[in-house]
Amino acid sequence: MSAPLTSLDRPNSYIGRSVPRPNAKRLLAGRGRYVSDLRLPRMLYAAFLRSPHAHAKIISIDAGRASALEGVHLVATGADLAKICSPWTGTLDHFKGMISAPQLPLPLDRVVWAGQAVVAVVAESRAIAEDALELIEIDYEDLPIVADIDSAREGGGPLINPGSANNVCFRSQLDNGSVDDAFAHAAHVVEEELSFGRHTAVTLEPRAIVSDYDPSAEMLTVHHATQTPYQFQDLYSRHFGIPEARVRVIATDIGGSFGMKLHVYHEDMAVVGLSILLGRPVKYVADRIESFVSDIHARDHRVRARMALDAKGEILAMDVLDLTAIGAFSTYPRTSVVEGNQVIRLIGAPYRFKNYHATLEVLFQNKVQTSQYRAVGHPIACAVTERLVDMAAAKLGLDPFAIRAQNVIADDAYPQTSPTGYRFEALSHQACLKRLHEMMDYDGLRAEQAELRKGGIYRGIGIAAFVEITNPSPAFYGVGGARISSQDGAIISLTPSGEVRCLISVTEQGQGTEAIISQIVADQLGLAQEHVKVITGDTEVTPHGGATWACRGAGIGGETALQATRALRRNILEIAALILQEQQSALDIIDGEVVDAGTRNQRMPISEIARIAYFRSDTLPPGTQAQLTVSHHFAPQGYPFAFTNGIQGCSLEVDVETGFIKMLKHFIVEDCGRVINPMLVDEQLRGGIVQGLGAALFEECRYSETGQLVNGSLADYLVPMPMEMPDIVIAHVETPTADTELGAKGCGEAGTAAASACVLNAVNDALTPFDATINSIPITPTKILKALKRF
């Protein structure tokens, strides 16, 4: 299935072309401008003393010697910052009954995880600030620790929030159809408990912020390595009581983000406060160890799930319990329950069944918060569903492709509503399944697997179908009371020399936002891409919008650019028609020239229109006011989300002596609607898959019983490196959304969504001859050897 041809498919269209990113050359020359590179006049440096305890009372803080150290400008505690910063609470109204304690930049009297920042020092250099930290003495009194899901649920166990009845942050249930009945009458039931370790984003550039408060202008400027500058403009304004128009957040180049850099961090709020207290720029860059203990983590779920099927292998029902432990607080402003909420709502998404029951329980524990990180909830929902589907296939003697072909929602059956309440406009599971089967030469792989097994080589083949949430509407956060925009804005101008500047609210983290926006503008205006300059990431300059989260840059930002450009084009042609004494409809713009729409004969360059409009408006008919700058906003309407889908496959080899897994090849067929730049989409998919493979095979934040992170460095926390990663084969199916002209949906999380599920199924497939199963992510050599009873 490919998209119907529209005006976007003209022969010279930029839409659908793999053009390189114009802004990447700077980065290749080492001329990136990351916040960690920034140095401002009179800038000072912050460092934080962190709690060595996972849960303790702060009895006293003695910072006298630190304050006296030469070069130290300020030592601040929780009480100092609480005077200028109002507390925040990480709950949303639409999560009924959700609780979380108020938070401040630094704690007043209690620490709740090991690594929590307790005291801030500001000094003339980071080294001096760190020297001063060593001179601070804090007296703690240990409190009992809640270190995992089980201890959090224990009745009568320690409580994290004094005054609360238990450690439950949020509970939720979904119930649709007649689940009990379906299970009672099912021919087959499969059941499994799956666990998913904590992991974290590990952006190569750690979190970085330079806050610059100028008391003379009463103006706060924050250079912030974030995906969402407008959200932070709003938060800094409200929590520090500075009018919004006097808060400017600038997000320049960012060394990776993946959802991790859109949460409120205690240190960041502290740094803003410190710069207000000092009236000087203050810089803070987390070092790698600090990143591990203070960046949000993700996942940490334990899911018990069962699936009922009829005798022919038709899925009848699913019943799920998801337990997840998040940390001592829920993050702000997006909360820490969104992941669990998406787990229970995405489970079973590719399939046709109608009976569904799910319980979600979100628990507090004494660890750093978990929250939204790339593919929020998706890898868990996908792994749970796809593992059960494979187990069912094995039970029924069906091939994994066959059981999926039998159960996926048919491509011609849309629109559909899932039993969890999601509304699907149009997905393409059947087409994707078929394509993957051919692309991976499935039958050939199976034959090879059988042959190799005879020689004691154990290969596994896994597949996993997925649904991804993209283009979120206000139904995501707005309904819950969060001031997180789902619309985007663009200001687009024809410059006096006939070029185009587009200021847009979506931001760039290297995924190619600026490239695709310039492609869309160039395409819609009829101009070469090199004449389009895209500007992002500065709240003083670019209009308010959602920026980058949850896969919305192309789908929402792209549509905003498209509509803005069409408006500018109309305005240009209006002036052209006046100058040329023509009907506006008889004119078009091609390659920077106004032409006759019918004959394509050139009439005049758009630079000439700009010249006349800006410098010789006296030659235009009286009453004409040329509008060569257009501002335009676009908010998604129609479906609350533009769901996408796809399927991944992989082939791997398990060494049953050592437990090591070698990834041989990975495949993905993905449908993100209209593809604007195939090369960039493919890189998003590959990058996402590699992050997913990291989670599947290596990544886990490991804690001791006392709540200490024991592998908080890049030597101990394993991330996927080049020699371990396979080549990845990609194919596309295109089902554009009809909710926008552009038809684009997101693709940034598709890779991560199904990679774990795919590997889990492949490893279990490889272990079939041994009657050994794996039900836990990451799949480490130790777990394999344990499953094989060799360890």
Partner: protein
């Protein structure tokens, strides 16, 4: 690593004067003995193209050339580099020696956020100066100390592979 005097490390507070040739220019700077080379390059010399991702030799973001060899600038004190010739991404760019690698990375989009990229380029440059036609596996192995969180590595491997091919077809290492 010539001319390093261990007694320089004795007094942690006193700065010492070190001299190197950085990107073809002789420079001197005052550094504290505890200051790493990556901090000295980024702060005192304002060569911010060299990045710090882990400060423990694991990620490769800080790779520079020291006397013609790729080294981790986070694992060396600035004083240890006294007297050395150092080439960073800025110098390698200006001299044009990695222009083909940069062009191929650009053409294939072998980078996203770009934070790992200078280190990747330094390492790729070193690999290609040692092995004329590395296999894809050789390339993946050579990059095994360079972490990239954004890309799937494949485009990076493709780009290096293409440059190796082009260089060997045009008559050897340039």
């Amino acid at each position: 690593m010539s001319g390093f005097d261990r007694s320089l490390l004795d007094d942690a507070d006193e700065t010492v004067r070190v001299r190197f040739t950085v990107n073809g220019r002789k420079v001197a700077c005052e550094v504290a003995p505890r200051e790493t080379l990556v901090d000295c390059l980024r702060n005192a010399l304002e060569l911010t193209g060299t990045h710090a991702g882990c400060e423990m030799g694991a990620c490769g973001a800080c790779l520079v050339q020291l006397d013609g060899q790729a080294v981790h600038a986070c694992l060396m004190f600035a004083v240890q580099a006294d007297g050395a010739r150092i080439d960073t991404i800025e110098g390698l760019t200006e001299s044009g020696v990695i222009a083909d690698l940069q062009a191929e990375f650009h053409r294939r989009n072998a980078l996203q956020c770009g934070f790992c990229t200078p280190g990747m380029l330094v390492n790729a440059h070193e690999l290609l100066s040692q092995v004329t036609r590395p296999s894809r596996k050789d390339i993946r192995d050579a990059l095994s100390g360079n972490y990239c969180r954004c890309t799937g590595y494949e485009a990076i491997v493709d780009a290096i592979d293409a440059v190796a091919k082009a260089r060997s077809e045009s008559g050897g290492v340039t």
